[in-house]
């Protein structure tokens, strides 16, 4: 595979390109999907392909080459396309290597895992023991190797292997809960715990009544807080800022959250998103996006960094910068203290369909799903349904008053796009709306 990466870069240079990057990946991932407490389909992928980035006279072309037996023809085609394209005056090159990378190990027991059905069963059983009737979800074994080469002297290899399970447990259509399990060591993978969590929330959410609009103090479970962290980390890349797709634009150095909030990106830390380098080969590292509520940096590749007169943060993607793994720094509250401080409010456990009316102002709404609970004097007094969180992203984060000591690693379909470490959080005066009569 190294040879393929070398050949792509060498061929690009031979054809006149100034910069070239090739990331040849081998994907052997495996998945089980389940529904109604049974396996509905199992999937296996066996793919070897190359992500390619090349620049010819500031003309930028990105590609995925799937047929590596026809590399030379593919490269000639890409350079031909590049020559017909237009200059990008903002393009400022790729990082200069070589770099030294942290030594990372993967769990061979994960790579060797051929059957995940016991893990699915453990999760389902956990939920059923709590009173759930119907469980659905996905189990994933991720197994990917990456061979990176660039025309600027970068050589990198990374083998990433992890396990992931997402389970939704239902007592009825409107009484459900969600649980997540993530691990990079088989011994740390606990799908039963995820099933128990989903089942407990579902059982507690029995017989929900329609909620009422208003402003409430809200306890955010780690899964839904993960979605709100994703809205910060996922909109902190410089490309989104320039495209008008981020409420963080023009806010560097300004308050975007309460002092309790520190959000970092760190692809080098232990997580299911851990990696050695970004798409340019820059070693990944920890950086605070928001520190004590102040926006400290956008996420950059070499080109966007130059435009913003700073240095790359090691977040290059194929075209635009992207977060790797997000961390919300834990607070000093216990989970119980978070709930006790919620005198008259809600506990939200999950959400989906987050959409903006204006990315500039941050006005958005998102729809809580799974358990929605009414809290009075710190206790659950009933379950709600049919509400929507309608607020402003910056305003909501400024109203966070407490974070728990413990964090969960979460990632979820569509909403939490990268692995995220999220605590419980308490926010004041969160806007809630509902359908009109």
């Amino acid at each position: 595979m190294e040879d393929y990466a070398e050949r792509i870069v060498d061929r690009a240079v031979d054809l006149g390109c100034q910069d070239a990057v090739a990331d040849v990946s081998v994907n052997r991932s495996y998945q089980i999907r389940f529904a109604q407490n049974q396996i509905v389909i199992s999937n296996q992928w066996r793919e070897t392909s190359a992500s390619v980035f090349l620049v010819y006279d500031k003309r930028v072309v990105a590609s995925d080459i799937k047929d590596l037996t026809k590399l030379d023809a593919a490269m000639e085609g890409l350079v031909k396309v590049a020559k017909a394209s237009q200059e990008n005056p903002e393009y400022a090159g790729i990082a200069k290597g070589p770099f030294k990378y942290d030594r990372l190990s993967f769990d061979k027991r994960i790579v060797d895992l051929a059957d995940g059905s016991d893990h699915v069963q453990a999760a389902v059983n956990g939920a059923l023991e709590e009173g759930a009737r119907e469980c659905a979800g996905s189990f994933w074994k991720y197994d990917e190797e990456h061979y990176l080469r660039t025309s600027n002297g970068v050589k990198g290899y990374d083998h990433r292997a992890s396990l992931y399970l997402s389970i939704r447990a239902l007592v009825s259509l409107e009484s459900s809960g969600h649980g997540i399990a993530c691990a990079t060591r088989l011994s740390k993978f606990d799908p039963a715990k995820a099933g128990h969590k989903a089942g407990k929330i579902a059982a507690l959410a029995k017989n929900p009544v329609s909620g009422e609009a208003g402003r409430y103090d809200v306890v955010f479970d780690p899964l839904i807080l993960g979605s709100l962290i994703d809205q910060i980390g996922g909109r902190a890349d410089a490309w989104s800022v320039m495209a008008g797709l981020s409420p963080l634009a023009k806010r560097l150095g300004k308050r975007v959250a309460s002092e309790a909030v520190t959000i970092t990106d760190d692809g080098s830390a232990e997580s299911i998103g851990r990696r050695r380098f970004d798409a340019e080969g820059v070693p990944v590292r920890r950086k605070a996006i928001v520190q004590k509520g102040i926006l400290k940096t956008y996420l950059h590749n070499t080109s966007t960094a130059k435009k913003f007169k700073t240095r790359t943060t090691g977040n290059a993607g194929l075209i635009a910068p992207e977060p790797h793994v997000l961390f919300c720094k834990p607070g000093d509250w216990t989970r119980d203290e978070i709930f006790e401080e919620c005198k008259d409010g809600l506990w939200l456990t999950n959400t989906w369909y987050t959409r903006y009316q204006s990315y500039v102002t941050g006005d958005f709404s998102t729809i809580p799903r799974d358990g929605i609970f009414r809290i009075k004097k710190g206790e659950v007094v009933g379950a709600w349904k049919d509400i929507r969180l309608t607020d402003n992203l910056i305003g909501l984060w400024r109203n966070v008053v407490g974070l728990s000591k413990n964090v969960d690693q979460v990632q979820w379909w569509g909403e939490v796009s990268v692995p995220t470490f999220a605590p419980y959080a308490l926010a004041r005066k969160v806007g809630i709306t509902r359908s009109a009569e």
Partner: protein
């Protein structure tokens, strides 16, 4: 095109290995994307995605495996994977597929001007030209982002029942995202247009006119827009709004896999159950259908990814829940036949139940007629923010381009009109449906795990709703 013998081999080999049913789908997708941000061509993406996916039934379980290698030895390995995985499912009740006739055919979408014949320079010029026209308007637009995409999809499908289907689908898209500012206020829009066919799309969909008109409407809204009135009033919605409502609150809840809980952990379930067929969900003038056979709509197809012939499906008929979108697996569970709704984004994922081109069936009203019949209300032509809960019961659409209607006339623009209604309240309030079917609004519909963002047309006719709460 791959060697059809290799695809046929995969099917035969799966049967040899113990599959009771097998299918193999080869795809070759040529995909180009031109990304223009603030007048700079940021990047050009060009990719060729080729591979083969094999799905089998064995011992009552379903297994799927995919590779991008066209070597026979590698195809053998994925067939063995698929059969092994299917057998490992150990289901209590076996998965079966509803019966279908074998089909041998070859279909393609005509191109007046083939995408492969259009030089890269011309494609780039199309979006840079639109961008220049916008800049020439001299409005304050701090961010402009365009993405022009072209896809050419070749497929060869074979199954163990004798179906052999070749197809070719070219598709053209234009996406734009604009930010406009005026006196400290900001308005944003995001639009996506699509066409199945060749480069004639640019002319047929008239992308330049639409973009310039939208920019002018944004400027008008920023300069003259009032706060939208709150309370119960009449509402006229344009094709884009009727289209998103049809997609979100009719198409999704009538997907049979969602009804049956197969997507419960991701895209969710549905407020509709199998027992809901025949129940009223809207007024008698509301018929919502999904039709893959609408010529040149972005999600056109003649046969689905299980080899079933496509046809128009009537999910809501005269206000009554009438029909689900089905693939062969859901149809067998519900004791019916597939109506050809199985689709996959690429060779590397299973085909599941999907919408194609979903719209309210037009009737005979003119737009002016509908507006003339409103004493006081809002005419919402387009939206920005929208969402709906996972059971598809509580929907929200916030206006981008909207106007006040006073005494039967469109008057001043209004900003951020909020429709937040239940599905039956929304569809039950419709009293008039226009004849102005507009089908080229195109979205990406998200579903499944791994996520499959699939082409879907989201257009429709103008509609009038009576006495609904807006704010």
């Amino acid at each position: 095109m791959a060697d059809p013998d290799l695809v046929d081999f995969a099917v035969d080999y799966a049967r040899q290995k113990g599959a009771t049913y097998a299918e193999a789908r080869y795809e070759h997708q040529v995909n180009e994307q031109f990304i223009l941000k603030n007048s700079v061509l940021d990047a050009l993406y060009f990719g060729e995605d080729t591979g083969i996916g094999v799905r089998v039934l064995a011992n009552g379980g379903l297994g799927f495996a995919a590779t991008n290698s066209m070597a026979k030895a590698d195809v053998k390995v994925i067939v063995e994977d698929a059969v092994r995985l299917a057998k490992a499912a150990r289901r209590k009740d076996p998965i079966i597929f509803a019966p279908e006739e074998a089909v041998v055919t070859n279909w393609s979408i005509p191109q007046a001007k083939a995408l492969s014949d259009v030089p890269v320079e011309d494609k780039i010029e199309e979006i840079t030209h639109i961008d220049r026209e916008l800049v020439d308007l001299k409005f304050k637009m701090p961010a402009r982002y365009f993405q022009q995409g072209n896809k050419q999809i070749e497929k060869y499908f074979a199954n163990s029942e004798g179906s052999r289907i070749k197809s070719f689908s070219p598709r053209v898209r234009l996406f734009y995202f604009l930010t406009m500012a005026h006196n400290g206020n900001v308005e944003q829009t995001s639009q996506n247009y699509g066409w199945s066919g060749g480069w004639e799309a640019i002319r047929e969909v008239d992308m330049l006119r639409r973009t310039v008109e939208e920019a002018k409407s944004m400027q008008n809204s920023l300069k003259h827009g009032k706060k939208s009135p709150e309370g119960k009033m009449d509402l006229v919605v344009g094709p884009q709004v009727s289209g998103i409502a049809a997609h979100e609150s009719c198409g999704h809840p009538t997907e049979a896999d969602r009804v049956l809980g197969r997507e419960a952990a991701q895209a969710g379930k549905s407020f509709i159950t199998p027992a809901s067929i025949g129940q009223r969900v809207g007024s008698p003038v509301v018929t919502v259908c999904d039709d893959p056979t609408v010529e040149h709509a972005i999600a056109f197809y003649a046969y689905d990814d299980e080899g079933v012939k496509a046809r128009r499906r009537y999910m809501y008929k005269e206000g009554i829940i009438n029909e689900f979108l089905q693939n062969r697996e859901t149809a067998a569970i519900l004791g019916t036949r597939s109506n050809g709704a199985a689709r996959a984004t690429t060779y590397s994922v299973e085909a599941i139940v999907r919408m194609a081109n979903t719209f309210v069936e037009p009737r005979d009203w003119g737009v002016d007629e509908m507006i003339e019949g409103v004493k006081f209300g809002v005419y919402m032509k387009s939206f920005m923010e929208w969402n709906i809960d996972d059971k598809r019961y509580n929907g929200k659409y916030v206006g981008r381009e909207a106007y006040l209607i006073e005494d039967g006339k469109v008057t001043s623009p209004v900003r951020k009109t909020v429709i937040e209604l239940t599905t039956p309240t929304f569809w039950g309030a419709v009293d008039a449906v226009g004849k102005d079917l507009e089908i080229h609004h195109a979205g990406f519909c998200g579903k499944s795990d791994p996520g499959q963002a699939l082409d879907a047309a989201l257009g429709g006719p103008t509609m009038r709703l009576r006495n609904v709460y807006l704010r």
